[in-house]
Point group: C2
Chain length 348, copies 2
Amino acid sequence: MAGQKNKVTIFDVAKASGVSSSAVSYALNNKPGVSEATRAKVLKIARDLGWKPNGAAQSLARSNTSRIGVVLAREETQLLSVEPYMMELLAGLGTELEQHDYSILLRFAVGRDAEMAILKDWIATGNVDALLLVNLEMDDPRVELLKNNPEMPVLALCDPSLSGGLPVMRSLDMQAVTRAVSYLHDLGHERIGRVGGPESFGHSYIRDAAFSDAAAELGVRYRCLHADYTPSGGIEATKRLLSVSPRPTAIIYDNDVMALAGMGIAREMGFDIPGDLSIMAWDDSFMCTAVFPHLTVMGRDIVGSGRRAAQLLLKIIDGEQVDVADEAPYDLRERASTGPVPAETANR
Amino acid sequence: MAGQKNKVTIFDVAKASGVSSSAVSYALNNKPGVSEATRAKVLKIARDLGWKPNGAAQSLARSNTSRIGVVLAREETQLLSVEPYMMELLAGLGTELEQHDYSILLRFAVGRDAEMAILKDWIATGNVDALLLVNLEMDDPRVELLKNNPEMPVLALCDPSLSGGLPVMRSLDMQAVTRAVSYLHDLGHERIGRVGGPESFGHSYIRDAAFSDAAAELGVRYRCLHADYTPSGGIEATKRLLSVSPRPTAIIYDNDVMALAGMGIAREMGFDIPGDLSIMAWDDSFMCTAVFPHLTVMGRDIVGSGRRAAQLLLKIIDGEQVDVADEAPYDLRERASTGPVPAETANR
DNA sequence: TTGTATGCGTTATCAA
DNA sequence: TTGATAACGCATACAA
């Protein structure tokens, strides 16, 4: 019962125009091989008849699909709670693809095995022209799979160290980390805590190293705990960070939800934000300016990254060589949740 | 440069098996017409050769695509800030579709015209087997379009009063509104404010009416302002609601972001939550339990709704009649942001 | 410039 | 039970 009310084919158009189907095809695709007169006539008749190309037939003949594949993997239990990021990325990707008549083919996998099965299916069936790989982990099996199938265009969103040579768009986490740490250091903070995302995630790992380096560079004491992006994870980690003495005077969270939860529990524990404790989050969202005090964040143009990814993918599909591209850099969005360390409370 | 390393076709399988291509097709599709012996042989050889059906060819021959189309419309300026809802819905939809080898074909439109163009394209090209319509507005042109193209299966997520007879899955907003109002009334609240979503949205309108009715029923004073789902919108509306005398003792927000922002500004204004003012939000998210006090919400199983929508769509594709289906009901998730009205502050 | 013929990979019809 | 063969709708090499 599929769609397709429109049973008008190029043969119908050809008959109505008094020319052959190939002439119609040339005319409709703006290719040489027909006179301007017949082209115009064919175009008019095609429009009058309401002709539109059949997608499947076009795909079969051209052997391309005008679709980019994205698999979102959920864990068994719950949604990967990076939704605001993912949605913005998809929006940027989709908006840019729209300019080129490309679509996003989206699938949800429960578990890594299911994700691999989908990717293998796409490689074999040719249901997408290219793949966007997100949320890469260390030694990710997807990298191996796509290196073994070099004919499938792909772009990975991760650090080049994780992609095994696949084309990559990387986020500039390193310099952002340096910026964040020196910002807090400039405010007088000498003990900084961090609540990172799951250790298996590639970007958690990358940030781990960058934070250690930046802190060492500036002589800042740095302690990191890993959590799972959820409120309870953020609360637990915050409690632990604040229970040691001397406690950190600033905490950076890998996402907004944990930052919000951390700020909340810190207040419940009697800390004033930012008087006693400065709070920073990674990645911006509506949430960050909905809460009081507004959260200082390291933000970036995620929608823009999605658009850039689309452009890169189209290039790769075109056969252009892409190795490593950069996202737009992060910028520090200073708001009310961070401030200088008051001398008298610093060692409380 | 499209994918398709696997140039193994059914002809290759046929040759290797020593049978004809049609026999192979029957065998692979579990259809009668071949003996069990040859079926088994063909299946084995197909697997050994790594054969997978070509998607485009299959679509063309079967004239179906195994894809459900979803268009997300963004306004000119910014993302529609219902992202957490949308992402969960897509996750449910996609997870269920996965069981039936269906995918989501996702496109992002900027503006309603672009969205209409995409839908028309899909109807003509047959690039999807069915459509899911979300975020319906009053007198939505999409309804008209799909009524004029009854051969395209469709499910709308809205109140039946908005769908013009198209198959619908409706959310049970009416009873949820009644529940919310009576919950607050039972706590002693006699003046309730509300910050709704944009008036053009169908569900805003539905809730408007339901709130008015429920408030009148219980003799509760009710005042509603409409905002745009953003923090600043929530803040502005909250200020206005609290600036009149006597002020409401409870405010219900149509989304979590506005509730968070409203709670924040109310505190800045000196109100204790929930001592002086009770706050409730519509739809649950991580945000609601990340903030202190945790937000009392009217929640629902959005992922489940997505799954249900998938099941309905597959039914509709199968030619089954679907008129009006219900989402799972909302449930009141009582947390710390709501409480009784202290007599002495009630008229402050 | 135009038309004919064939390929794309499956599914489905119809003889054998 | 089998195996040619014709759709499916479009693109294109080749011949006219």
